[in-house]
């Protein structure tokens, strides 16, 4: 297979434009690379201004503190965390449109995948960046790497988001290789110098040989499989970052799946908007047809229905049981101050899009775009409600604090919103707008199905294309599983080294010392000895004449300097003297070491006292630290398993890039040596 073969294949494809894809994908992909129109420049300028305003607002917030963004102790989390959830959420469109459709073999996805994957990369980067204004000390963000708290959900959020970003980039970048090869080798003159250099570098060695195609398909299949659990993990951990706090409503066990569905829902809506925007901007109507929008609309409707169901399931049990906090938050949400916004979301963000898809006369491009326009901001509104309601609830008083938007977070949120089209417009000035290779492949496949005639040049390998892809993925999966197993094994072995030794406590025996009290009119003498783990205090009371004083009440006290000097006296109890004038009290010492005791006798107006010191060797404090929580020890195992899984994911993703690079290099060498 040489470049000649590809040219022939392309010509072959051009000849067979029998289906809906009447426009050549290559021509469409090259369109953004031409001289930009005035509208393009104006749009980029306007969007850049919005982004710059947002950055300026962030600088203002850095100088003035989070207070200028409307935050207070009554509303400690608000708009930024909702932004993070929303923006990372919309990046799921890429995962669903590209990965799920790829795995299910939906061929109609081909003209949408690049746009969807690009949107995923751009939005997840913006969403991750929005954590910066959320933090009051963003300069210390690096501490998540240098001193992470492994029990904190936010740390795992960080890990999950970083892994998902890497996965999205790999998922976006791998299919670029054949496209860049095609454009670089056949349309080099239309690319311009810089793009041509970039394309040549990325696609070096790619000639579209069957073996290369198989490896790429295998790698993409594997990344498709991986990107779905990765996406699920990101929003689950985000939800758990809420759920692991002590706020009402955030605890609901349905939050993680609800977050995932919410993300998919808003993500598909954003994909519809992005696709519609680029379709009209670059005249892709020939490639992206109303049928694409309707199909995306069906996905949207399914997710809308699912999300409405989950929202109901989220609210019903809490409202039914009516715990104090949950009841208060739900009252505020459903009939209280936030009710207007909640019902606005429910109708405009939930039911209306569903209707727009369901009704035949709105089931067209305009209808789907309107549905998507409704969904995206309404899902942001829903996140705001989910954050602000519980965050402003005072768990002590049951009252609600207020959160007031100021221009600062609004500007930052708008900047993040404007950054999506801006970055996409810039991105598709650099990389091909459409997944050319995939479109052509799908076209060939559908031609193949229609005509049932094998193509002349790639006949031997092509009929088994799908099986090969599966096989490639499976064998890689085996290897990955092996590597993961080794990792886990080593990690588990390492755990045996994690042990803790109880520090031995040395007990130094001491003998009791004895002192007598000072003498006054009636006299009291106090002695203490340690016996059997107790301190036995003996007070001897004598009258001024030296006679034992019976039936007198003697109070015993403990003298302590723990809370400063002069020493404080703590009443331990009292005892009445017997015939010999002796009163005794047994005291259970709490700490070892020298301890002072005092005995007093209230002889009329002037009490008499005596004190003594006892060196305590055996003590028993009534205090016992709280026992560890039942599952506390499981955490260590969980952490190790998670690290092993994350490491395996990163290694597998890196291995896919390496695999594709390698097969390109290998074939290139063959091609040059045989030439």
């Amino acid at each position: 297979m040489t470049t000649e073969a590809i040219t022939t294949k392309a010509k072959n494809t051009e000849a067979k434009t029998t289906n809906a894809m009447t426009t050549d994908a290559r021509a469409a992909s090259l369109r953004p690379f031409g001289k930009p129109s005035r509208l393009w420049w104006l749009t980029v300028l306007a969007l850049s201004l919005v982004v710059l305003t947002g950055i300026a607002a962030w600088v203002v917030q850095l100088q003035g503190g989070m207070g200028v963004a409307g935050y207070s102790d009554q509303a400690f989390w608000a708009i930024y965390i909702a932004d993070v959830v929303t923006f990372i959420g919309v990046s799921y469109g890429g995962a669903v449109v590209s990965a799920i459709l790829r795995l299910t073999g939906a061929t109609w996805r081909a003209p949408l995948t690049r746009l969807a994957e690009g949107t995923a990369v751009v939005t997840v980067l913006i969403g991750a960046a929005l954590i910066i204004p959320h933090l009051a000390n963003p300069i210390r963000l690096w501490e998540l790497v240098t001193r992470p708290n492994l029990s904190a959900p936010v740390f795992w959020d960080f890990v999950a988001v970083m892994t998902y970003i890497f996965g999205s980039i790999v998922f976006f970048a791998l299919p670029l290789v054949p496209d860049m090869a095609v454009l670089g080798q056949e349309h080099g003159e239309q690319l311009g110098r810089r793009r041509a250099t970039l394309y040549a570098r990325v696609s070096r060695g790619w000639v579209g040989a069957p073996r290369q195609r198989r490896v790429l398909a295998g790698a993409l299949g594997l990344v498709s499989i991986m990107i779905i659990p990765l996406a699920v993990s990101v929003h689950s951990v985000l939800a758990w970052a809420f759920a692991s706090t002590s706020r009402p409503w955030w605890h609901e066990s349905i939050w993680a799946p609800q977050f995932v569905i919410a993300a998919l829902y808003s993500g598909v809506a954003l994909v519809i908007l992005v696709v519609a925007g680029f379709r009209s901007g670059y005249h892709l109507q020939g490639l992206i047809t109303p049928r694409h929008f309707v199909r995306l609309g069906f996905i949207l409707a399914t997710l809308s229905a699912t999300y409405i169901y989950l929202t109901f399931a989220d609210l019903l049990p809490g409202a039914y049981v009516g715990d104090r906090g949950t009841a208060a938050v739900f009252t505020e949400l459903l009939v209280g101050r936030l009710a207007i916004w909640f019902w606005l979301f429910a109708i405009v963000g939930g039911l209306l899009p569903l209707l727009l898809v369901a009704l035949p006369w709105t089931r067209n491009v305009t209808g789907m775009v309107i549905a998507a326009i409704l969904v995206v901001p309404m899902m942001w509104l829903k996140r705001i409600l989910m954050v602000v309601g519980p965050a402003t609830y005072d768990t002590m008083t049951g009252a609600f604090g207020r959160y007031h938007f100021t221009w600062v977070p609004v500007a930052i949120t708008l900047a993040a919103t404007a950054a999506i089209p801006l970055l996409l417009m810039l991105l598709f000035r650099v990389v091909p707008l459409l997944s050319i290779d995939e479109i052509e492949e799908m076209q060939e496949l559908s031609d193949l199905e229609k005509n049932a005639t094998p193509r002349p040049h790639t006949a031997p390998s092509e009929p088994a294309a799908h099986d090969d892809r599966l096989v490639g993925a499976t064998s890689t999966a085996h290897r990955v599983a092996g590597a993961t197993g080794v990792l886990l094994l080593v990690a588990l072995l390492g755990m045996f080294g994690v042990g803790s030794a109880d520090p031995a406590q040395a007990a130094t025996p001491q003998t009791a010392t004895l002192q007598t009290g000072t003498q006054s009119a009636p006299a009291v003498k106090l002695s203490g000895i340690e016996a059997g783990g107790m301190v036995q205090l003996t007070a001897t009371l004598t009258s001024p004449h030296g006679q034992p004083l019976p039936k007198a009440k003697v109070a015993f006290l403990l003298s302590t300097t723990e809370f400063g000097s002069p020493a404080r006296l703590i009443a331990l109890g009292s005892a009445t003297t017997d015939k010999t004038g002796v009163a005794t009290l047994k005291y259970q010492p709490k700490v070892t070491g020298k301890q002072g005791f005092v005995a007093t006798y209230a002889a009329g107006a002037k009490p008499v006292t005596a004190s003594t010191n006892v060196a305590v060797t055996v003590a028993r404090s009534p205090y016992h630290p709280a026992p560890a929580k039942p599952l506390a020890s499981v955490g260590n195992v969980l952490v190790l398993a998670l690290f092993a899984i994350v490491a395996a994911i990163w290694l597998t993703l890196i291995a896919q890039i390496w695999r594709v690079r390698r097969v390109c290099r290998g074939v290139q060498q063959t091609a040059t040596s045989s030439a």
Binding site: G65, A136, A152, T560, R568, A626, A628
Partner: protein
């Protein structure tokens, strides 16, 4: 399952480049490389394990193990029978720590009981033995002293406010804007005696700098009614600002002391003796 056919097929259509190793050995070398990668990653994982061991000391593990050997276990007893809600504790605390008016490290809540009777309830940091804030901080900026005090390392705080979300007692206050100008000579900020600083969280520290000196926390000495007792669970002593000294365990038992939101399992170290200021003659 079908990995072998793939292998042979992979080399098939193209054929090995001259001078390259045969196909079988190439597969082997790939395996070697994967193994090398695996070992490297495992080494990394081990490093993380040992690191995690350190981190665990700070946050993860049963904290109880650490508390055992310490000489003190500071706690507080709040006798609601004598509280008249004068907020003297709050003011003394704010004065000492240079706090804004809304930063009530010890806050006196006006509460209502079931009969509509009113009572006042001071709330300091509960110094939980299983503190939710310690688990949730992404950078482990909460530290726990050997004496069981939960303190904030303001030099590490990234300002995520996760701890504010986690605290079931609303005991944490953030420095949303620049703090008040210091009234005293500038002093270094320590977890025991934090100096307010924009962008970090703050909370009651039980005046951790005073306790080792045998001094009472500002709120305890600032309470004119003797409501607040500072105590030590190990030595079993508690004292208030009016010179009342008690055997802690007996005092708690005799007065049916309870802990706030016991059901959450946070094991707070603040005990309440329930009441509504009746010893003052009011509220009954």
């Amino acid at each position: 399952m079908q990995s072998h056919p793939t292998h042979s097929e992979e080399g098939g259509p193209v054929g090995p480049p001259p001078g390259a190793t045969p196909d079988g050995r190439r597969g082997l070398s790939r395996r070697n490389l994967l193994a090398t990668l695996g070992v490297t990653a495992a080494g990394g994982a081990l490093a993380l394990v040992s690191f995690q061991d350190d981190a665990q000391a700070a946050a993860m593990a049963p904290m109880a193990a650490k508390i055992k050997a310490s000489a003190h276990a500071w706690c507080m007893v709040i006798d609601l029978r004598t509280c008249d809600g004068c907020k003297g504790c709050t003011m003394a605390c704010q004065q000492r720590h240079g706090l804004r008016e809304e930063q009530t490290w010890i806050n006196v809540y006006d509460m209502k009981d079931a009969d509509g009777g009113k009572f006042s309830m001071p709330r300091p940091c509960m110094m939980c033995e299983d503190a939710p804030c310690m688990y949730i901080c992404p950078v482990g900026a909460n530290i726990r002293t050997d004496d069981g005090l939960v303190l904030v390392d303001t030099e590490a705080c990234i300002g995520s406010r996760a701890c504010m979300a986690a605290c079931p007692y609303e005991a944490r206050y953030f420095n949303w804007t620049d703090p008040l100008p210091p009234k005293r000579l500038p002093m270094p900020s320590t977890p025991q005696m934090p100096v307010p600083e924009k962008g970090v969280v703050g909370k009651c520290v039980f005046c951790a700098d005073r306790l080792p000196q045998g001094e009472l926390p500002a709120c305890v000495s600032g309470c004119p009614m003797g409501v607040l007792y500072i105590g030590d669970l190990v030595t079993d002593i508690a004292v208030n600002g009016l010179g009342k000294n008690v055997v802690l365990s007996e005092f708690l038992r005799a007065n049916d002391a309870v802990r706030f939101k016991e059901e959450l399992g946070t094991n707070p170290r603040v005990y309440y003796i329930l009441g509504h200021g009746q010893s003052l003659g009011g509220g009954e």
